[in-house]
């Protein structure tokens, strides 16, 4: 129990630090929400008036703590650019981002575990060599480039989806998934390649250990040894790795949303930074940070479930 309390306290501390750093970063870069909103030819008095209205003229600590107070209550204020509540803007964009991440992670799990095991079982075989070659190549391809190739190949040439298209899940869940698959593939393929390689190495390492020989000598089939004994142990480092992959997927989705023109949180973030729309940026950064921290938290717990020897103190 103490462990969880400690973990949650440190989680909150990290979130606080992230908010503070984001806030400070915005003080350093040129321009502010008022300059950006009013554009090139605004008169200085106009900018001053809007600064006053947006509260940009208040002192640094006052602005930060006012924001913090709102954030604690779940209120991130109004967007400078859209004059709408930030939470409303964010809520409208979550389906695209969450769906993209979920489909990506699902694809990574479904594809990389069987592939990794296959390679380990038939080490040195044709399948293993083919997959290794493929993973080596795909690991090196950046997701945005893969995204452009996928858009061109499946969108423009084969016309399996229309580039830039998006259907909200409320309208048609099937079509929504359809539009998620291609960008998700762009994100997950390099990650699948990495996970396969990682899992294969991990399985191979485990198979050389003594307990495997014992399991075999007890009369277990090769398949049973692999699935019941080796995989369980081999997964421990993979779970840690997956925790990092999930954070990566979220970061990757920012770029991929741009390439596939998805109305997700990532694209909103890019636009909001350009517009110096500080409340929106801060809310999104907090959201991403919260997810990454939560995932790490879950990974720690999973760790313990898979390997009871790992005692969390």
């Amino acid at each position: 129990m103490r462990y969880y309390v400690k973990k949650i306290v440190s989680l909150i501390m990290v979130l606080f630090l992230i908010m503070l750093l984001t806030f400070l970063a915005f003080q350093v870069i040129p321009g502010d929400g008022a300059v950006s909103r009013l554009g090139v030819d605004a008169e200085p008095e106009e900018i001053e008036a809007l600064r006053e209205a947006l509260g940009l003229n208040k002192s640094l600590p006052e602005r930060f703590f006012r924001f913090l107070g709102g954030a604690v209550r779940g209120d991130f204020g109004m967007s400078y650019q859209y004059s709408r509540p930030v939470s409303e803007l964010l809520a409208a964009r979550l389906p695209a981002t969450v769906g993209l991440a979920a489909v990506s992670i699902l694809m990574i799990c479904i594809i990389s575990v069987p592939l990794g095991l296959l390679c380990a079982r038939r080490e040195g075989g044709f399948a293993d060599r083919a997959v290794t070659l493929l993973t080596q190549t795909l690991m090196a391809v950046p997701a945005f480039f893969l995204g452009m190739i996928i858009t061109f190949l499946f969108g423009v040439v084969l016309k399996w989806f229309s580039p830039g298209g998006y259907i909200p899940p409320g309208e048609s869940f099937g079509k929504y998934l359809h539009y998620m698959i291609f960008p998700a593939a762009a994100i997950s393929i390099p990650k699948i390649a990495m996970t396969v390689k990682f899992l294969k190495t991990s399985v191979l390492r485990e198979r050389k250990l003594d307990y495997v020989r014992t399991a075999r000598s007890k009369g277990n089939t090769e398949r049973a040894v692999l699935w019941r004994h080796v995989l369980r142990n081999a997964l421990i480092p993979v779970i840690t790795f997956m925790g990092m992959v999930i954070a990566d997927v979220l970061a990757g989705s920012i770029v991929i949303e741009q390439v596939f023109n998805l109305p997700g949180v990532g694209r909103l973030l890019v636009v909001a930074i350009g517009n110096r729309d500080y409340p929106v940026v801060e809310a999104i950064v907090v959201y991403i940070a919260a997810i990454v921290l939560t995932v790490n938290f879950i990974v720690d717990i999973l760790y313990q479930r898979v390997d009871p020897r790992v005692r969390i103190k």
Binding site: S83, I111, G164, R267
Partner: protein, 528 residues
């Protein structure tokens, strides 16, 4: 062989998922290869009423309230749902819109508008003189309570009073009285007429234009439909969706796949790849693109250095490299599309001449050239490309130029507003008034980011604005351009060409001398 049997299904899983998804798609409905011949903008084809199109844009709207919208990208879209008392036509004339008649007093001290009868807002209510007065006052900053987001047009500060009345026949009249003479205020009176005290303009905009608002989702789309009650020539199309793409590259992919019917911001290279499925309309962007110089900064405070730069930049080569030779060369701060005021004599004042440039540099005390920085906003690839060509050209006269890319808001804040730059490549736009194009060169203008100063210019500018005789006015403005050219205030390059992809089934796309995407003139060509 067995090994293959197992690996293939696994490998094809990704593809398989994609195939499954592919089946539910329904984008086979339109074959863009059918129909339509040449001439995109020609109006000789037989139009068909009805239908809907998708227009690609690459900038999100900064506000749906026309008085709060600042970016050109927003104004050109909102043109479809809003109108002022007057509005621009495709030749750059201001034609009556909500007002049916305008009288400008001889002395330039007052403007009288007779309102058109029976004009309705999109909410069904009739436009009253009070609405017009309210809208004009809001644009001029004369309302009692002011909203800091509303764009107050500084040129309207000479207005002292706006009043509603009725003439003998009972028609509504709106009179604008000025505190000083100004005969070109009409160009600034295109501000949208909106219902008085309607406070949901940012969520559900209401205007009088040929289209009316349907929906808007930030970063996704802005949808309008035909206004059935429009008093003027009705729109052909029933529905227009402005789709907001992340950038030109993303939009280009959508064009290749046929998901966009009209896209206005192509590069010449992209345009050449689309000719199979689209007609490409070529017009002008109505920008003054130049290498703008900070006249207050050393060594650009020396006229000989500025002139040397003018001689050292080969404008034709820039056009050939970055725009396939398309675009109009200019020689001063006026775009060629504004034909009435454009001083064509100045185009070749500084013919490319590197030797003369070197000589001038030597005279100014820089026989070995100097180092300089060209600050360019990174989101404008066209200007970045131009700057790269300029860097190479300047090398030939010994000037070592370096490009500094900065993000747009930083450019606005530091370079433009803060005047912290040496040189910059951008395109300047303006309103439909010659004074708007040239006003930034007045010594005290807040938009004078070049810190240009010339007493003669200031004097003639004031005369030009107040002049009511058209011929004299034109002469003044041409003289102002000449002063800028002689002073080599900056290196004026071109009015860049604009490439618009228009689906082959469509016609009627119209270029305007201002930022406008007028969809009311676009139609599907009747199939025979």
């Amino acid at each position: 062989m067995k090994k293959h049997g197992k690996i293939l299904p696994a490998l094809l899983l990704v593809l398989g998922l994609a195939v499954l998804g592919g089946c539910s798609d329904e984008n086979s409905s339109d074959d863009p290869n059918k129909g339509g011949a040449d001439g995109v903008t020609a109006t000789t084809k037989e139009p068909e009423f009805g239908g809907s199109i998708v227009v690609g844009i690459t900038q999100d709207l900064d506000s749906l309230d026309p008085h709060k919208a600042r970016s050109a990208g927003t104004e050109e879209v909102l043109f479809n749902i809003f109108e002022g008392v007057v509005k621009p036509d495709k030749d750059g004339n201001l034609v009556p819109a909500v007002a049916s008649d305008v009288v400008i007093a001889e002395d330039g001290m007052s403007y009288t508008f007779t309102l058109r009868e029976g004009v309705k807002f999109h909410n069904g209510e009739l436009v009253t003189a009070e609405d017009v007065v309210y809208s004009l006052k809001r644009c001029a900053g004369l309302l009692e309570t002011s909203d800091p987001e509303v764009k107050v047009t500084s040129a309207l500060s000479c207005i002292s009073e706006i009043e509603a009345s009725a003439d003998a026949a009972g028609k509504s009249i709106v009179t604008i009285t000025l505190s000083e003479a100004n005969t070109e205020l009409l160009g600034y009176l295109t501000g949208a007429v909106i219902p008085k005290d309607y406070d949901r303009q940012t969520e559900a905009p209401v205007g009088t234009g040929p289209f009316r608002f349907v929906s808007y989702s930030p970063l996704q789309s802005f949808v309008v439909e035909k206004n059935p009650d429009y008093y003027g020539t009705p729109a052909y199309l029933d529905k227009v969706t402005f789709k907001i793409s992340a950038d030109t590259d993303a939009a280009f992919m959508e064009l290749l796949a046929g998901g966009i019917d009209i896209f206005p911001y192509l590069t010449s290279e992209q345009a050449s790849q689309l000719t199979e499925n689209y007609n490409i309309a070529v017009g002008t962007t109505n920008l003054v693109q130049g290498l703008f110089l900070n006249n207050a900064e050393k060594p650009f405070d020396d006229i000989r250095v500025r002139q040397a730069l003018c001689y050292a930049v080969d404008r034709q080569e820039i056009l050939d490299i970055v725009a396939d030779g398309k675009g109009t060369l200019i020689g001063s701060n006026m775009y060629a599309g504004f034909a009435k005021y454009f001083n064509g004599d100045l185009v070749n004042t500084y013919e490319y001449n590197p030797d003369k440039a070197k000589q001038l540099l030597a005279d100014a005390g820089y026989p070995d050239g100097f180092d300089m920085t060209i600050t360019v906003p990174s989101n404008y690839q066209f200007h970045v490309d131009t700057a790269q060509v300029i860097v190479e050209q300047l090398k030939k006269v010994g000037i070592r130029a370096e490009i500094k890319l900065i993000e747009w808001t930083s450019w606005v804040n530091d370079a433009y507003r803060g005047r912290q730059f040496q040189t910059t490549v951008v395109g300047l736009d303006a309103n439909l008034a010659p004074s708007d194009v040239l006003k930034r060169y007045q010594t005290t203008a807040s938009s004078n980011f070049l810190s240009y100063s010339n007493e003669e210019f200031d004097r003639i500018f004031a005369l030009a604005v107040a002049e009511s005789d058209d011929a004299a006015k034109i002469a003044y403005y041409k003289q102002l351009q000449e002063i800028l050219t002689n002073d080599a205030a900056s290196v004026y390059i071109q009015d860049p060409a604009s490439y618009v992809a228009v689906g082959k089934k469509l016609a009627g796309y119209t270029f305007y001398p201002v930022y406008v995407q007028d969809m009311s003139k676009v139609y599907y060509v009747k199939q025979k």
